[in-house]
Each structure stands twice: as structure tokens, then as C-alpha cells.
């Protein structure tokens, strides 16, 4: 008897009955309440349709009913793995509408928090991706460092995942005594941990076999579907909002934008835009974030804290009434470009608050990418796109 071939080309010749398989919404590999209805032919995915909306809370309507500052805690609950980044984006959008200037030291603290949160978010993403691929150990390792990062952010804000730390015009309160040293210790730890994750996962042969060449999202598809974040850069597009459309103090920081070349570290692994590249871009981004956090910490230590603790934020009126107008502001989140479209009519509530979530846009491409792949690869593709359903459904 011949051994069973695992090549997709061979499986395509075997015609079996089509079968509709329902995956989710309660499924460990869909990272939340994503439901995917898959039309399969044997093991091959013929067609699929993601169903979203199970976590829909109509954030945009809530935003129109509350005041600008009151919406800040709701932004935490969109992409709950990158709450600081959401807060930063929303604060900057409102500040651009108001024309507020934030003190320099506060801007460094904000960016430091956002990059720290990016590390925590990527650790989660990488850890669970390993778990999806059957590697349990990297998940536990990643959570060890993530826990320290969360502790650091809890120390300044009081919340473990939902911080409400960055406010419109500044931050809730100054960082605590000795915080920068503790953060620096984590960064020193991260340097060798990233090498460890790479050894455990990125260059692991089984992991490469599962992810390299799977779910290729090329440059044109990425443009067409408005893919942003690591997915875009893994497709070879040299684009990062932090560098190319900089906001706050990002121009002051030295960092590189990792872009997929299809020829990583001298040895050819996979093809440009596949699952492995998306994973690898996250690893490289984490290194850059570590460097950025360090630069911010140095700057925070140099700049003197304000004499009056209230001066850590810009002086804002009690009731924010932005002048009538509109703004479309985007920022680079761990999962892609988060954008807020705000329309003010001069009242205390926004007239329109639109959230353009990166996860929502990125998961839409799932059907195109995974057609013709094995059902088992679907898990690899969903994990590599890295969605947070809180943001997909908002």
C-alpha cells in the first residue's frame, strides 16, 4: 500500500463529497468568538466564510452618547491586548481636533507604555500561535515575560489589562518611583528571551514545516484588502505609520522597520507573505520595541518631573468642546493601523465616532488566503493574521 500523500496537489485529485464544517464560535484556535463556516472537500478548504459580530457592543454608538474623555475606557475594551495603543490613538485623535500640546516628558511616557504594550501583545500573539501549532512550551515562556510587562503597567495605572492610563491631554498620573529601573530590567531580560523564543519556535523545524509557504498574502492582495501591520510588512511592503507618518515623539526615536524579504537571516525559509514571515516580523518588531522602550526610559530619566504633579498633563477644560470639524487619525497598533474618524459639532459629545479596527480589516482576507489549503492550515492562517475579536466586533 502506498503511503498517504500529504501534498495538496495530490489531494486535489481525490474527489470526495463536499462537506460544510462549522468552526467556532467556541473554538480554541479562533482566538475568541470567531465563527468560520468552511466548505471542505476531504481535507481541502474549498471556500469559507467568517461570521463576526458575536461580541458586537456598538462602541461607535456608545461613543456618540458619552463625552470625549468618557470614551477612553471603552477604547481599552476593543483590542484588549493592546489597550495602551488604543488609548494613545484615541487621545491623539482628540488632541489633534483640539490642537492640544502635551508636555514632552509625558509624551515619552505614553510612547514607552505603548511600546511596552506592543511587546506584551506580540508575546501573547507569538505564544498562542505556538500553541495553535502544537508547541505548548513557548506559550508558557511568553506568558512569563508578558506577566512582568503587565505588572509594570499595573503599577502605574492600577489595571492589569484595561488601563485607562493615557488621557486626553496627558496621562492619569506620573510613573512611580523606580519604575524605569524595573522596566529596564525587563528589557535586559527580553534581549536574551527573544533569542530563546527564536530558538524554540521560529527556527524550529516542525514550526517551519507548519507555517512556511502557508497562507501566502502577496503585496497586491495586501493592498487590495487594505491589510496593515505585520501582515503588510511580511508581504514586503516597507511601511510603518510610526516612521512614515510620525506622531508624538516617534521621530526622535531610532528604530528600523522590519520588512519581509523572503530570505530571512541568509537562509530561505518559506515565501514572502506566508504565515512564517508574519510570525518572524513580529519577533523582529519586538526587538525594535525593546530598543524604543530603552530610549524612552533614558529620556524619561533625563527630563525632570514637573513640580506640580498635575502638570504631568496639559491643562484641559473640565468639559471638552472641540471646535466643529472632523479628523481622521491613524496609529500603528500591534495588529495594524487603528484609525479614529471623529466628527465634532462643537458639543461635548462627538457627533460621529468611527473606529477603523485593524483586526476587522485583516480578517476579511481570510477567505481569499485560505482557499485551497488544508483544513489544518486554516488554524495556522487565523493565528498568523492575529486578530482580537473585541476589535473585530467592537
Amino acid at each position: 500500500m502506498n503511503p498517504v500523500s500529504t501534498k495538496i496537489e495530490d489531494l486535489r485529485d481525490v474527489r470526495t463529497d463536499e462537506l460544510i464544517v462549522n468552526m467556532g464560535p467556541q473554538h480554541p484556535a479562533t482566538h475568541g468568538v470567531l465563527r468560520v463556516v468552511v466548505k471542505t472537500d476531504g481535507e481541502v478548504v474549498l471556500d469559507l466564510e467568517p461570521h463576526v459580530g458575536n461580541l458586537h457592543r456598538c462602541k461607535e454608538r456608545i461613543g456618540e452618547n458619552v463625552r470625549y474623555g468618557q470614551f477612553m475606557p471603552y477604547t481599552d475594551r476593543m483590542d484588549y491586548l493592546a489597550a495602551m495603543n488604543n488609548e494613545l490613538c484615541f487621545a491623539l485623535a482628540v488632541e489633534r481636533l483640539l490642537g492640544t500640546q502635551v508636555p514632552e516628558r509625558t509624551q515619552y511616557i505614553r510612547v514607552c507604555m505603548a511600546e511596552l504594550n506592543r511587546i506584551a501583545s506580540h508575546l501573547m500573539s507569538i505564544g498562542t500561535y505556538g500553541l495553535d501549532m502544537g508547541a505548548i512550551t513557548p506559550f508558557l515562556y511568553a506568558f512569563r515575560e508578558r506577566e512582568t510587562a503587565l505588572d509594570l503597567m499595573e503599577e502605574v495605572s492600577g489595571g492589569r489589562m484595561l488601563y485607562h492610563y493615557i488621557r486626553i491631554g496627558g496621562i492619569a498620573q506620573d510613573i512611580t518611583e523606580g519604575w524605569t529601573d524595573r522596566c529596564r530590567a525587563l528589557m535586559t531580560d527580553m534581549d536574551r528571551r527573544i533569542v530563546e523564543y527564536n530558538t524554540l519556535l521560529t527556527w524550529n523545524k516542525i514550526f517551519i514545516e507548519r507555517t512556511a509557504g502557508v497562507g501566502v498574502l502577496d503585496r497586491q492582495t495586501a493592498f487590495d484588502w487594505a491589510i496593515t501591520g505585520p501582515g503588510l510588512r511580511a508581504a514586503g511592503v516597507d511601511w510603518d505609520v510610526r516612521r512614515d507618518e510620525p506622531y508624538t515623539i516617534y521621530p526622535e526615536l531610532r528604530f528600523e522597520v522590519p520588512v519581509g524579504h523572503g530570505n530571512a537571516a541568509g537562509e530561505r525559509v518559506g515565501v514572502l507573505g506566508d504565515c512564517w514571515h508574519r510570525h518572524y516580523i513580529r519577533m523582529l518588531e519586538m526587538e525594535q520595541s525593546v530598543s524604543m522602550v530603552r530610549q524612552c526610559l533614558d529620556k524619561i530619566d533625563i527630563l525632570p518631573p514637573p513640580d506640580n504633579p498635575d502638570d504631568v498633563s496639559a491643562r484641559m477644560p473640565k468639559l471638552l468642546r472641540p471646535p466643529p470639524g472632523e479628523v481622521y487619525f491613524r496609529a500603528e497598533n500591534p495588529r495594524g493601523e487603528l484609525a479614529f474618524y471623529l466628527q465634532s459639532d462643537g458639543d461635548v459629545n462627538p457627533w460621529r465616532l468611527r473606529v477603523r479596527g485593524p483586526s476587522f480589516c485583516n480578517i476579511a482576507v481570510l477567505g481569499t488566503v485560505s482557499r485551497g489549503h488544508l483544513l489544518a492550515d486554516l488554524v495556522a492562517i487565523i493565528g498568523s493574521i492575529d486578530i482580537v475579536l473585541g476589535e473585530v466586533d467592537r
Binding site: V52, G53, H56, C58, E60, R61, E64, N65, R96, L97, F223, D224, W225, A226, V237, W239, D244, E245, G325, E326, V327, Y328, R330, E337, A339, Y341, Q343, D345, W351, R352, R354, R356, F360, C361, A364, V365, T368, D393, R394
Partner: protein, 188 residues
């Protein structure tokens, strides 16, 4: 440039401020977007949404187009009739428009002509009404789930937005005295 290409179909161009935009006639929506893609190099449709108007006469459909090559935004707006909102779909131009238009239909009830699969995306298929229209009212119940009349509570200045919970008298315990909660907590 857009003005020269589309002529009278362009109603308004705002170039100053933090959000420049071009307002076109709804009939020229597809043509304007197509020109933005082919003539102005906008490879990706970053966002598409709608805004209700103050006087409840029009819905403004907005799309934000981004060009990676030229690094510029093209923001298009079109006012559609609120009673019968209908506009050409941009899905044939960018696949990214697919889900954004479905969401816009779901939330505002804007019908996109030529969209292959215009169904509700975030709300349930049998949901009634369009939640982001300003005159939308929460249904009082949905399949037995009680609704939260937030809008009504705000309009009538009621302090709480949840309906008051009716307290039923607890059934009398068979035992003369229930054990204190601390004891059960300690046992478990």
C-alpha cells in the same frame, strides 16, 4: 485634478484644515473612486463609513483612500437621500470595501448597488433598524432578551438606564436557620 476630470459632479472641495475632502454627487461616486485609484494612485481603501446629518435629510457616505506610492489621502464624501439611501458599491474596485460596505448597510441602511453579498455583518440577520442612525431606538426586547433603553433614559434624564429588577420574595427556607455564608465558604 479631480474637479477637472469629473466636472460638475464635484460639489465641494475643502483643501484646508486637518481633514481635506472632496464632495461628489452620489451618481459620480464610483467614477470618482475609480479615478482616485487609477489616476491618483490610491492602492488601498483604508476606511468607508457614513454619518447621519443634523436635519435628518441625508446620510453622508465617506471613504478614506490612501496611496502608499504618493503618500497622500483622498477623502471622498457623497450625500445620499436618507429615505432611500443608495449608492454604487466600491467592492469591484477594492475588495476591502466588501466588509466596510456590509457594516455601513448594517449600521446605516445604505444600500450599495453592485455589492455581491450585502448582508448584515455585526448585528444578527433578523435585527430591526439601523443602530447608528440618530433616530434609532433600542428594541425593548430581542428573542426574549430585554433591551436597555439607553437613549430613552438619557432623553428623560432618568438616573439609571437598566430597568429596575423586580424582587420576588425569597421562598422560606425549610431549615430554621441557614448556615452563615462564612461557614460554607470555609468548607469549600
Amino acid at each position: 485634478m479631480l474637479k477637472g476630470r469629473l466636472g460638475d459632479d464635484v460639489l465641494d472641495i475643502v483643501q484646508e484644515g486637518i481633514h481635506p475632502f472632496v464632495r461628489v454627487k452620489p451618481s459620480a461616486w464610483r467614477a470618482a473612486a475609480e479615478f482616485a485609484r487609477d489616476g491618483l494612485g490610491c492602492e488601498s481603501l483604508h476606511d468607508l463609513t457614513a454619518v447621519d446629518s443634523k436635519d435628518r435629510t441625508v446620510l453622508t457616505v465617506i471613504c478614506h483612500l490612501w496611496s502608499f506610492h504618493h503618500r497622500h489621502w483622498v477623502n471622498l464624501k457623497a450625500d445620499v437621500d436618507r429615505a432611500e439611501p443608495c449608492i454604487d458599491s466600491l467592492q469591484p474596485l477594492w475588495n476591502a470595501a466588501d466588509w466596510h460596505e456590509r457594516e455601513c448597510w448594517d449600521m446605516f441602511g445604505v444600500r450599495f448597488e453592485g455589492h455581491p453579498n450585502l448582508r448584515r455583518i455585526l448585528c444578527a440577520e433578523d435585527w430591526v433598524g439601523f443602530p447608528l442612525r440618530k433616530d434609532y431606538e433600542m428594541p425593548s426586547e430581542y428573542h426574549g432578551i430585554p433591551g436597555i433603553p439607553v437613549m430613552r433614559a438619557r432623553d428623560t434624564e432618568v438616573g439609571h438606564c437598566f430597568p429596575p429588577v423586580k424582587k420576588e420574595a425569597p421562598p422560606k427556607p425549610a431549615a430554621p436557620a441557614a448556615p452563615p455564608p462564612a461557614a460554607t465558604g470555609g468548607a469549600s
